[in-house]
């Protein structure tokens, strides 16, 4: 069975991006800044790295769109999971909500 011909992405360029984003993550983690800004920065950088690995190394960018939907389903479900559990945990110490 013949494999489709397609352009290979520049894998080494992706490697340098991943390295750069990792160094950026370490910088954000160690720089003095408000906690919420640090978390937002780290989450964005982690998602960027994960997207690069999925799209280029796992070849998702060149696959059929529906395969991308299969790959996208767990992150969507997990974000729902976070939103659903957030009120139970993060607001635990707010008076009036914690229960008796």
């Amino acid at each position: 069975m013949a494999t489709e011909a397609h352009d290979h992405p520049n894998y080494m360029a992706i490697f340098w991006w991943l390295l750069g984003l990792t160094i950026a993550e370490l910088a954000v983690a160690y720089m003095p800044m408000p906690k919420s800004l640090m978390i937002a920065g780290l989450v964005s950088l982690a998602v960027a790295k994960a997207t690069l690995v999925a799209m280029y190394f796992m070849h998702l960018k060149f696959e059929r769109r529906t395969l991308g939907l299969i790959a996208l389903t767990p992150p969507i479900l997990l974000m729902m999971f976070v939103v659903i559990t957030y009120p139970d945990t993060a607001w635990r110490f707010v008076s009036g909500l914690a229960g008796h």
Partner: protein
């Protein structure tokens, strides 16, 4: 019309193709497995986040288990950053291995798969070193409040995946002679598993060690 009836009439019936991955059913199967595995890891990571968000951070006045320790004060972040770098490099060698066999280069396939296995094995060695240090000097499964158990379960579950990946890669490498430019779906499929393991580590490193 059933396939048997069609054949009786001498009609050509196309074999069923995987709808999303025409060249390989195995590739679709691996993607579906990884989606389920992502839910497993995601459940553990979200559970970690929920437990941590529900506990006050240690600020010096309180001590565990009344508070959640800041991971970077307990864990060796530079050491783990090297582990992250190692896994990223092993993903690159994996992709180079696939590129090699797509050009019928069996020697290149063996070389780059060997480097990927080496990267995975070194990662496991470093993880073992980190765990040994933590267990003997810092914390166990039941210490530091819930941080001990969530840390060891999450990193242990991932480490088990790396170990399984190293075994799986070794099997594929042992079978290298069977692959060619026309037939290398098995190499692409093991690559998907390995990149997934790397991807999960990227998330664990961020949410457990850095945040």
């Amino acid at each position: 019309m059933s396939q048997a009836a069609a054949l009786d009439h001498g009609l050509h019936v196309e074999p069923a193709e995987s709808p999303l991955t025409p060249e390989s059913w195995g590739k679709l199967g691996m993607w579906l497995f990884l989606a389920g595995d992502a839910m497993s890891f995601g459940g553990l990571i979200v559970g970690y986040a929920a437990l941590r968000m529900g506990t006050e951070a240690c600020t010096g006045v309180l001590a565990p288990p009344a508070c959640w320790p800041t991971p970077s004060t307990i864990l060796g972040v530079p050491f783990t950053a090297v582990m992250t770098f190692l896994l990223i490099c092993s993903s690159v060698t994996m992709v180079k291995a696939l590129e090699a066999i797509s050009h019928d280069d069996r020697a290149g396939l063996r070389k780059f798969l060997g480097l990927t296995i080496l990267g995975g094995a070194c990662f496991l060695g470093m993880q073992a070193r980190e765990w040994t240090h933590l267990l003997t000097h810092v914390m166990t499964l039941t210490s530091k409040g819930l941080f001990g158990s969530t840390f060891f379960v999450l990193t242990g579950f991932h480490g088990f995946h790396v170990f399984s990946g190293v075994v799986y890669l070794s099997c594929i490498r042992g079978n290298a002679e069977a692959y060619s430019a026309e037939n290398h779906n098995a190499v692409e499929i093991v690559g998907l598993y390995w990149h997934f393991v790397d991807l999960v580590w990227i998330l664990i490193f961020t949410f457990v060690y850095l945040v």
